[in-house]
Amino acid sequence: MYQEALKNKDACIVLPDGTSYEGYGYGAKGTVAAELCFNTAMTGYQEIISDPSYADQIIVFTFPHIGNVGVNLEDNESLKPIARGIITSQMPTNPSSWRNTGRLDDWMQTHEIIGICGIDTRKMTLILRSLGVVNAVISYEKNSLTNRDSLVKKAKNWPGISGSDLAKEVSCKTPYDWNEGRWTWPGKFRNPAKNKKVVAIDFGIKTNILRCLAESGCAVKIVPANVTYEEILNHKPDGIFLSNGPGDPKATGKYAVPTLRKIIRDTRIPIFGICLGHQILALALGGKTLKMKCGHHGANHPVKDLITGKVEITSMNHGFAVNRLALPDDVLETHVSLFDNSNCGIELKGRNVFSVQYHPEASPGPTDSLGLFSKFVALMN
């Protein structure tokens, strides 16, 4: 950091209330407005930054050293990382990992992601914890530090994530197939035998979900978020998967919920949802969603399986949640967060329809809940 400190600060974070924090920029240059959220994971920054669920968000990493292992092709969770920026305590370093193919900051530059370091990310986290979700502008370009008024204005004017259908933006535009299984040492992806066919509705799907489905024996057909009932059934799926993704479930639900309701009403195809997919399923079943104060973003979240009583440590990344107090009678709450008792899983009573709020595919995070994928496949028999 000392080498940086000898230079002048050249980047800043500006909040709508006019507060600003100055630091040193890296990665791409530019100015963006987005929602600030913190992530407490200590590993897996590349997976986090490339997770499409972070659309229109800036990630504050609580762990100070981010970038230690560089980046590689295998750890991308999407083809095009979409997070708007990251805020770290320390400057990314030269990578040290037998798997690395480049530096984090170079990769961010390629993908147009702004980075700012020299920021007390713990303090930032405590601010976010007390204020709740905050919109902000980050700026790393020529006049970043002299342009405060216009940056404040920009922060104020940014509409925020609530009400926005971000899934549409990150979803694929045309269907495609997936066959590659999970990563194994020394860097190979398996190609497991497939005996089931799954249609995955892409609200911003993470690659590792596809790999987990393939690993469980599913040939996966990925379809856009606005897919119709008929298009889905045309693929003759054994199971339907509802993916994770960014934005407000109510906004995306406007078109996704009716489709889903029709499937549930007219077919008996097993359905499995993760994260945004979970929220959309809850809406389709008549539940409600709410915007959380600061969301859950990390890889250490305990979730209790209310059926078995077991606790799993999970990876989470969500700013909206299913309101557990407003679940319809035919919906069973199956999982709950032990951190704040928020809902983490539901199933439709008597049906092969279930979903979880957290990320069983991990990447990053613990793989305690991988079994959900086999459960999904088992339901198809």
């Binding site: 295998e74 914890r129 991990a362 613990p366």
Partner: protein, 1078 residues
């Protein structure tokens, strides 16, 4: 699932004395375990021979036995206490081995005692190399190529499969004792033979060499519902090849991708499941080939460990406490996270800082030992530091070591590249500074990585520190707050900044304060700030670059408060005893309504547990860091002052600087402390009181030393001023010896004077502890040393009360102690060392602070003396403690780490070298001494042959009495010529044996042929010491009981005699307190 109701009493076995590889971390875990069980209403029976532990305080368990940890004693305790269950996982390898031995002896089955936490099968599966390997194969988890050998033929076959270099480790030994890496066949067979001898199971494991691989550890906790969490990942900066205990380590792991980390995590949990650790904590060690990521499991420990203590302190997650509760049936989600108080224990701590642990070595105390590091652990202690970057934590940790470092200080170094490479290629205790020095001389991190195999990520951070140093040297101290703040955030101490800019530390501090560069204190909260935390566990950092923002989470309270300065890393001479004292001050003051604030940097201790004091600062014990804590705590409430008497020499060394900053020192005034440490002033004081002192002087130059010694008369005891543990202390016999001492051992100068005392040969040493409120003095303990004067008090066994001193002498000693305490205006504690020769009493030393013997005394008299002392210092109460009377004997014996330092002479001397102590209690001195011997692991023979060879001064009535006792037991005595003649003159049956250089067969042959069962050997003079060293070396290797003083021999012989006469009795401290005379 709630706690079990079918069991109501639980036994815990502690780890025994502090030894290398097993330090106070097991007091920390054992104390947590006892408290956790009592909290749940179980009756707790505790056995631990180590009196200097918090866990053996009578309040911690219901029945506390300070008794030897061996099958015979444990069986007796089980028969008496009839526990329902035994928790074997809290007392380190000692506790685990003892539990297995009990299981094998059949007593557990007979008395229906259930092993909880880990079953015998699980323990064996984890510890038995072959079973562990088979289990890993079943899981398809890779282990290093490996063979198990139970004899030399196996070893020879194994060599063909494994190849060289090969790693050899004996099974069931502590800290890998006796293992090593063989690079050639000769070494290979030597190490194998040695390992087979040392392993209690006569089993060694021979592994493919993973030298240079990256090394990691995960701390895993599992409950009976199969919920499992990884509390912490730890990465070793030192690659494979250096024992984890000797490695610099970092938490969390810094160089793993998530895919690798999750693989390691998942497999660690699978391993616990497969081994069958049903409940509790275990650590799993992994190695990764940096070239291709091949990951192999090294080992797992099915118990809490040194690493779990570190992980607990690094994350705030109390592994031992949680593991204990899981062992009695709770599940993780039923337990609350003590730090946040709002979230459950069933989560994985995530941290937003970097933790660095650095081991502390004491090679300088073991002349002739090499400071090279390998798979045998050699460090005696460790420090931990927390910062918001690796740089900051590393430099804070270096400053915490108290080895004179202020950061990456320069070190003497060769000039040529070849020589530098040769230095770097031998991993040794100075490696970090050598690497820094190599960087200063222009060698890049890539080259260093190739030589040392230390990951380039760590090396590049070192490079950044060096670059900042370089920049600072070329410019001057920055005047801009921002820039100085950044320098501080890299971890530079004020002292180091001073060295780099040729300013004094104090000048740097003033300048820094003037421009407002101050640390902020952040909390260790287990959750990286995601939830509010209720527990004030803090560290300082300069990370924030927010302009003018005050970003401190310390939030000092508006209370009456006292700061207690801890004792820093364990080292020989200053260890757990002082932590015991600090903890008791905290307990007593908190109970009296004072808010207690602990500062310490030793992760192994009870004092750094988050619930020992009201507030905890995990900080280096330097003037700079302590001042900043004082400043922030002063900002609200009433800081009554700082306690510096209890943490050994560490806080005492800060006294002057703290007083200079007008910080109130509680208790005995700094001027009195100075008076007791200033030789000349102290001499005046003794003269005033009409007390005797050995003739002595202070020398500030070589010539002065020569003159002084001559005036005083040889032999003299010589040592540097202001040291603890007799560092570089030596009995000097003549002028030539003195010259050698000055040349090799110390630098004598105006700032570093040496103290010279007349050596009173054959005197009895006496240690006295006293407590005073300035008016009334109570002598709490008078301890007679078993070894005579000239052997460091810390290495000598001692007896409370004295076993052979006359009442008259004892009364005189007490009176002299009281006079000294009054004259020095002691408020709090004082320790005095006396030498008694005939009817003369000499004052050797006065220390107005807690002593090493205080925990021992506290246990023996049943009063937590340091706690009382803290109340006196705080002015809360007056001294109304009556002088204790004992109707039994308590004997303290020490343990020495010679098995770790092959080739080092085991003769005791004025330089302290013991690592820990045990206590034996009985009605007779002899039995108490015997119990103390047993507790150190020494089994005195009941028959067989004794080898006796004593120097001329020791050919006296003590020797005769000792040999008569042996003779009565029917033990054959063989002796070298001089001793044999003397014994024959005194009508003792003896067979003469040749010395090593007198031809064959000689004593060495006898020892090698296992014909000797006990050794009494004292010696003087350089040549005879050299001549007889082999005798002692073989004795240590063969684990023979050996005594190197005539008084020790005398006590041993009498103890042996008394075993024959009576059964071993056991008594708990609680029972002891009921039979006390008041």
């Amino acid at each position: 699932m709630p706690k079990r109701k079918d069991i109501s009493s639980i036994m815990i076995i502690g780890a025994g004395p502090i030894i290398i590889g097993q330090a106070c971390e097991f007091d920390y875990s054992g104390t947590q375990a006892c408290k956790a069980l009592k909290e749940e209403g179980y009756r707790v029976i505790l056995v631990n021979s180590n009196p200097a532990t918090i866990m053996t305080d009578p309040e911690i368990a219901d029945s506390t036995y300070v008794e030897p940890i061996n099958v015979q004693t444990l069986e007796a305790i089980i028969r008496k206490e009839k526990p329902d269950a035994l928790l074997p996982t809290m007392g380190g390898q000692t506790g685990l081995n003892a539990a297995i031995a009990l299981e094998k002896s059949g007593i557990l089955a007979k008395e229906k005692v259930e092993l909880i936490g880990a079953k015998k099968e699980a323990i064996e599966k984890a510890e038995d190399r072959r079973k562990f390997r088979d289990a890993m194969d079943a899981l398809q988890i890779e282990s290093p190529k490996s063979k198990v050998a139970e004899n030399m033929e196996d070893a020879s076959n194994a060599l063909e499969t494994i190849g060289l270099p090969a790693v050899i480790r004996p099974a069931f030994t502590l800290g890998g004792a006796g293992g090593g890496i063989a690079y050639n066949e000769k070494e290979y067979f030597e190490i194998c033979r040695n390992g087979l001898d040392l392993s209690p199971a006569n089993q060694i494991l021979i592994d493919e060499s993973l030298l240079g691989w990256k090394e990691f550890e995960l701390e895993v906790v599992r409950d009976k519902m199969d919920n499992a969490i990884v509390v912490c990942s730890i990465e070793n900066v030192d690659p494979m090849g250096v024992h984890t205990g000797d490695s610099i380590t970092v938490a969390p792991a810094m160089t793993l991708t998530d895919k690798e980390f999750q693989l390691m995590r998942t497999n660690s949990i699978r391993i616990l499941r497969e081994i069958g650790v049903e409940t509790g904590g275990s650590n799993v060690q992994w190695a990764i080939n940096p070239e291709d990521g091949r990951m192999v499991v090294i080992e797992m420990n099915p118990r809490v460990s040194r690493s779990s203590a570190l992980a607990s302190k690094a994350t705030g997650f109390p592994i031992a406490k949680v593991a204990t509760k899981l062992a009695v049936g709770f599940t993780l989600d039923e337990l609350i996270n003590d730090i946040t108080k709002t979230t459950p224990a069933s989560f994985e701590p995530t941290i937003d800082y970097v933790v660095v642990k650095i081991p502390r070595f004491t090679f300088e105390k073991f002349a002739g030992s090499s400071n090279e590091l390998n798979s045998t652990m050699k460090s005696v202690g460790e420090v931990m530091a927390i910062g918001r970057s690796f740089h900051e934590s590393l430099q804070k940790a270096l400053a915490s070591l108290e080895t004179g470092l202020t950061g990456l200080n320069e070190i003497e170094f060769p000039n040529t590249k070849e020589e530098i490479i040769s230095v770097l290629s031998r991993q040794n205790s100075n490696r970090l500074r050598q690497i820094a020095q190599a960087m200063r001389s222009g060698i890049d991190s890539k080259t260093i990585n190739q030589i040392t195999r230390i990951d380039s990520w760590f090396l590049e951070r070192l490079e950044e520190i060096i670059a900042a140093e370089q920049h600072l040297k070329e410019n001057s101290l920055p005047t801009q707050a921002d820039e100085l703040q950044t320098l501080k955030s890299i971890g530079f101490t004020d002292a180091r900044l001073g060295e780099l800019t040729s300013l004094s530390e104090e000048t740097i501090r003033q300048k820094r304060w003037q421009i407002g560069v101050r640390p902020s204190f952040k909390r260790v909260d287990t959750c990286a700030g995601e939830f509010p935390s209720k527990t004030p566990y803090m560290y300082s950092t300069y990370e924030t670059l927010f302009p003018k923002s005050i970003d401190c989470e310390s939030s000092p309270n508006d209370t009456e408060k006292i700061i207690i300065i801890g004792s820093g890393p364990n080292r020989i001479g200053q260890g757990i005893e002082f932590d015991y004292c600090c903890c008791h001050a905290s307990f007593a003051l908190s109970n009296s309504g004072i808010e207690t604030i602990m500062i310490n940097c030793n992760p192994e201790t009870v004092s750094t547990d988050y619930d020992t004091s009201d507030r905890l600062y995990f900080e280096p014990l330097t003037v700079e860091h302590v001042l900043e804590v004082v400043e922030v705590e002063k900002s609200n409430g009433n800081l009554k002052g700082v306690i510096i008497q209890l943490g050994g020499q560490t806080p005492l060394n800060l006294t002057k600087a703290l007083s200079h900053h007008n910080i109130q020192i509680l208790g005995t005034s700094p001027s009195s402390i100075d008076l007791s440490e200033d030789r000349e002033k102290f001499q005046d004081l003794l003269n005033r009181l009409n007390l005797k002192q050995p003739k002595n002087g202070v020398a500030r130059s070589e010539q002065e030393a020569i003159n002084q010694a001559k005036t005083i008369g040889y032999p003299v005891v010589i040592r540097p001023s202001y040291v603890i543990g007799g560092r570089a202390m030596e009995v000097v016999l003549n002028p030539a010896h003195l010259m050698r001492y000055i040349k090799d051992a110390v630098q004598v100068s105006g700032n570093n004077p040496v103290l010279i005392d007349s050596f009173i040969a054959g005197a009895i040493e006496v240690d006295v502890d006293a407590i005073s409120d300035g008016k009334k003095v109570t002598v709490v303990g008078v301890m007679q040393h078993v070894e005579e004067a000239g052997i460091h008090s810390g290495d000598s066994a001692c007896s409370l009360p004295p076993y052979s001193l006359s009442k008259k002498i004892i009364t005189k000693i007490k009176n002299q102690t009281k006079m000294l305490a009054i004259e020095l205006k002691v408020v709090g504690l004082m320790n005095v060392q006396f030498a008694v020769k005939g009817n003369s009493i000499f004052v050797l030393e006065v220390n107005p602070r807690a002593s090493r013997t205080l925990p021992f005394v506290s246990k023996a008299i049943g009063v937590p003396v340091p706690g009382l002392a803290a109340l006196l210092m705080a002015g809360i109460s007056q001294n109304n403690l009556k002088e204790p009377k004992l109707n039994f004997y308590a004997v303290k014996e020490v343990v020495l780490p010679f098995d770790r330092f092959p080739g080092v002479d085991v003769l005791l001397g004025p330089e302290m070298r013991s690592t820990g102590e045990v206590m034996g209690i009985d009605k007779s001195f002899e039995q108490a001494f015997l119990k103390a011997q047993l507790a150190t692991g020494v089994e005195l023979p009941e028959r067989g042959t004794a080898f006796v060879s004593l120097k001329d001064q020791d050919k006296n009535e003590k020797l005769v009495e000792a040999c008569l006792a042996l003779d009565e037991l029917g033990i054959e005595i063989i002796a070298t010529k001089g001793t044999a003649i003397y014994l024959k003159q005194n009508n003792i049956r003896v067979t003469e044996v040749k010395k090593a250089y007198e031809g064959r067969p000689n004593i060495i042959d006898f020892l090698n042929d296992n014909k000797i069962d006990i050794v009494f050997n004292t010696t003087a003079g350089v040549q005879s010491i050299i001549d007889s060293q082999e005798i002692r070396t073989i004795s240590v290797a063969k684990r023979l009981p050996y005594f190197t003083s005539v008084t020790g021999s005398w006590a041993a012989a009498h103890a042996m005699k008394s075993t024959k006469e009576s059964e071993i009795r056991i008594i708990s401290l609680q029972e002891l307190n009921t039979i006390r005379e008041v």
